[in-house]
């Protein structure tokens, strides 16, 4: 295996392509996203997305944040060659919502906010609370793992160059 630091830097583009692909899938082919718990999960872009354009000699970062923010600026950045480097995700199940941010280069999960609980239902016992939190993290970590697995399988298949990249290019070009 490659040296870890070398591998981190050399392949961080894969994480950024993954987040860009995820946005593309959510916009165009949501039903084919592979969720770990097919019974109920839904996924939406949350209130923050960061794009970076390093094509040519550029070094541009575009951050869109805010609960009602439109993604038009992000689309313009994609058209110029930017990729998504950080995305806030909202994972929804009936009567519950998990929000977290995902960074492309590291696949770190940050600012994970589990569903809010009625204070009357909150566990007093530390061990019980820890168990609940572990279950929340597991849910987010499993989602990231499964979606990334779906992406990387597609990324290393013949379909990637033949159909996925052209479809993403069309999506970028024709998005308003």
């Amino acid at each position: 295996m490659l040296d870890v630091a070398v591998a981190y830097n050399r392949y961080k583009y894969l994480g950024n392509e993954f987040l860009t692909w995820l946005w593309f899938m959510m916009e165009t082919d949501r039903s084919n996203l592979d969720f770990p718990e097919a019974e109920s999960s839904e996924l939406d872009i949350g209130n923050r997305i960061v794009l970076e354009n390093t094509r040519g000699n550029r070094d541009e970062t575009i951050t869109i944040k805010g609960d009602g923010a439109g993604l038009e600026e992000g689309v313009i950045a994609l058209k110029k060659g930017a990729l998504v480097t950080e995305i806030s995700l909202a994972m929804k199940a009936p009567e519950a919502e998990w929000r977290f941010q995902l960074k492309g280069e590291s696949l770190n999960i940050s600012s994970l906010k589990p569903p809010e609980k009625n204070p009357a239902e909150a566990a007093d016992d530390i061990e019980q609370r820890a168990l609940e939190q572990i279950a929340h993290v597991e849910r987010a970590a499993n989602l990231v793992h499964q979606l990334y697995q779906q992406f990387i399988q597609q990324r290393l298949s013949e379909d990637w160059a033949k159909t996925v990249v052209p479809a993403m290019a069309r999506w970028i070009t024709h998005s308003a």
Binding site: M1, L2, V4, A7, Y8, R10, Y11, K12, Y13, L14, G15, E17, F18, T20, L78, G81, K103, G104, E105, S106, L107, N108, I109, S110, S111, L112, K113, I126, E127, R129, A130, L131, Q133, I134, H136, V137, A141, H145, Y148, Q149, I152, Q153, R155, L156, W160, A161, V165, M168, A169, I172
Partner: protein, 208 residues
């Protein structure tokens, strides 16, 4: 941003290798061997060591619970002292003036100044309390998965280093390449494609 926080941040790891039986006693002993050392009233600048999840500041590895559900849960504590730059400057200036007076000289060499700076810093470190930072660790030993509750580079580096020393196990952080290569179920042929892959160009084409 720890396990019990309203919002959590974490890095994900894979851990390979086993811990000898008796499992839990071995884990306790190894954590104890690398437990946090208090450095208040001590000239040390930094201390890095393990502590207990439910009892970060007075850990008792023999009594405190290390297992929650099917996970090992404990914490890394990094205690660090920071001398404000202006305080260091004041005490260094005073020490330089005193040394010049004692030696009846008009200046100190660079090395002498550096030694004096180190000495002043050591004296101040004894008087400054350390600021503790606690980072939780949740380890699914059977599943070989581990979460470290910080995404800070420095904290993750300290964690990787002390974890490897403590448990003599291989620990690898999950990021796009390692996640693909190690846990995405790739065939050897797909791994070869991964090694050769390059960035896609969504404006004009793609590498394999």
């Amino acid at each position: 941003m720890g396990l019990l926080s309203a919002t959590m941040s974490l890095a994900r790891y894979r851990v390979a290798g086993g811990i000898p039986d008796p499992f839990l006693d071995t884990v306790r002993d190894r954590l104890k061997n690398h437990a946090i050392r208090e450095i208040d009233n001590d000239p040390a600048e930094k201390s890095v060591g393990w502590t207990c999840f439910e009892n970060s500041f007075q850990p008792d590895f023999d009594k405190d619970n290390l297992v929650i559900g099917t996970h090992l849960v404990f914490s890394l504590r990094i205690d660090k002292k920071q001398i404000p730059a202006k305080v260091l400057r004041k005490h260094l200036d005073m020490a330089v003036a005193k040394r010049l007076k004692q030696t009846e000289r008009s200046s100190l060499t660079r090395n002498e100044k550096q030694e004096l700076r180190d000495e002043v810093a050591r004296r101040l470190y004894v008087r400054i309390p350390a600021t503790p930072n606690v980072y939780d660790v949740v380890w699914d030993y059977e599943g070989q998965a581990l979460w470290f509750f910080s995404t800070q580079k420095a904290a993750n580096e300290e964690f990787e280093s002390i974890f490897a020393k403590t448990f003599k196990l291989s620990i690898i952080r999950m990021f796009p390449f390692t996640e693909a290569e190690m846990i995405s179920g790739l065939t050897d042929e797909q791994k070869d494609l991964l090694y050769k892959a390059g960035p896609a160009d969504f404006q004009g084409g793609a590498h394999a």
